[in-house]
């Protein structure tokens, strides 16, 4: 416990570094999954290929990927870009399927009526299909966020700075409190990001919280209609 109190600034520092490595992959996998998910949903043949390739991608172990990426990208072995790219790939692997399913689940009644109203395909995608896919997209990105926060720690093995360094350092120097602090901070960070995502979801999708007409009220409306 003493270790934690004495090293609060360090934990804070590592948390910020961890955050800086987590946010870009979360945002990027969300953004890139939109066109890919659209493609997978729109053109059935592309769906099978795309989802299989991405599924295989997710099966690549993270440590080897982090070692191979600098060679492919020509970056330095400890460059944080490697982590961002690797985790974006994992994020996409998870998120494209979700996005494709989410877009596919938009009720055909609603998209047809939007078409009938005179939405162009482009406007309809952004103003109808994507927003309506929102709740499922949110569920998907929450999984990606938690998985990303946890995977960022792997970079520590290569010396990339994050909360993961508290594990490796704690292990090497045999400071149990440090390992523990790293774990707790990682989980806390995941929870905070998750909460922020839920909050954003509520702000941008207020309709999901709209309560339905209570049955009693509906019955009364019908009764009124009958009486009039």
């Amino acid at each position: 416990m003493n270790w934690v109190i004495e090293n609060l600034p360090l934990i804070g520092q590592r948390t910020l570094e961890h955050l800086a490595l987590s946010i870009p992959p979360i945002v990027l996998s969300f953004v890139l999954s939109v066109p890919l998910g659209w493609l997978a949903n729109r053109y059935r043949p592309s769906r099978g290929v795309l989802l299989t390739v991405l599924g295989l991608l997710y099966a690549v172990p993270s440590l080897p990927l982090l070692i191979v990426l600098p060679i492919i990208l020509g970056t330095g072995a400890r460059d944080s870009i490697n982590v961002v790219v690797a985790l974006t790939l994992y994020g996409i692997a998870l998120m494209v399927r979700t996005t494709s399913d989410a877009l596919g689940s938009v009720s055909s009644d609603i998209s047809q009526s939007a078409t009938a109203m005179g939405f162009s395909p482009w406007t309809r995608f952004w103003k109808v299909d994507l927003p309506l896919a929102g709740p499922v997209l949110l569920a998907g990105i929450r999984v990606v966020a938690v998985s990303t926060v946890s995977l960022v720690t792997v970079g520590a093995v290569l010396g990339i700075k994050s909360l993961g360094l508290l594990f490796t350092d704690g292990l090497q120097r045999n400071i149990v409190a440090e390992v523990f602090a790293g774990m707790v901070a990682t989980i806390a960070l995941a929870l905070v990001i998750d909460a922020v995502l839920v909050l954003i979801g509520r702000l941008v999708m207020p309709w999901t919280r709209a309560t339905r007409v209570a049955p009693t009220r509906r019955a009364r409306l019908t009764a009124e209609a009958a009486a009039s």
Partner: protein, 281 residues
Amino acid sequence: MIEFRQVSKQFPDGTLAVDDFSLVIPSRKTTVFVGSSGCGKTTILRMINRMIDRTSGSIEIDGEDIVGLDKVKLRRRIGYVMQNSGLLPHRKVIDNVATVPLLNGVPKKQAHARALELLDTVGLDRSLANRYPSQLSGGQQQRVGVARGLAADPNILLMDEPFGAVDPLVRAELQQELIRLQRELDKTVVFVTHDIDEAFLLGDQVVILQKGGVIVQKGSPTEILSAPANDFVADFIGATKGKRALHIDRRDGREVVLDSEGRAAGVLVDGPTGGSKDAPA
């Protein structure tokens, strides 16, 4: 006026949904397509706003072939109301009603003001404006759907079984409301239903369809009722059985109209028929 000339629609899978369909739909009147499920009603309706493109033949609106028109623009000047309202669940009632004007670039404030007026027009309380569609009853949703269809003040209103999913009481109310609206607004309404009673109630011109969009009979409700073209029509309109085969009986000095099973359908009175719009001349 909407004119179909030898229009056919074959879907990519080979289904010939509409075969050689010709019809004139007069302006400012209500034309009702009625027929059993799968006979091609929706297909015919959707060819008017080009949600479905015909395979052959031509469709003209006021003498202009719609094939040369931009689909999106065409749809914005034709109102469309469908069975399950098709309201956008993520938009408030007021924004749903204002959909087309907003798409057309009308300033939000103006579009909203007009949307509120339209809520009055369709008999909805303005207090519902800020609700989401899921917070409305089925009948209220359909009214919003009608308001939305009217928002851009289109000349043509396409309605695909708009009252098919609400309970009978609400349906009757909505039908009366549409009759009132049509008196006020004078639109060219093209209405699809598989309920023959609804067709006779609403239609100036009723078109009875069979599989493949084949017209079995068309005419005013009175024309069809008084002279069914064949057994299919007679059967379909229930002339041979049930409530439409009426006869007169004298009871307690009054003339009572009875159906085929002897249930009282009404009494016979003298004088005008109460202003029914298709009363025999």
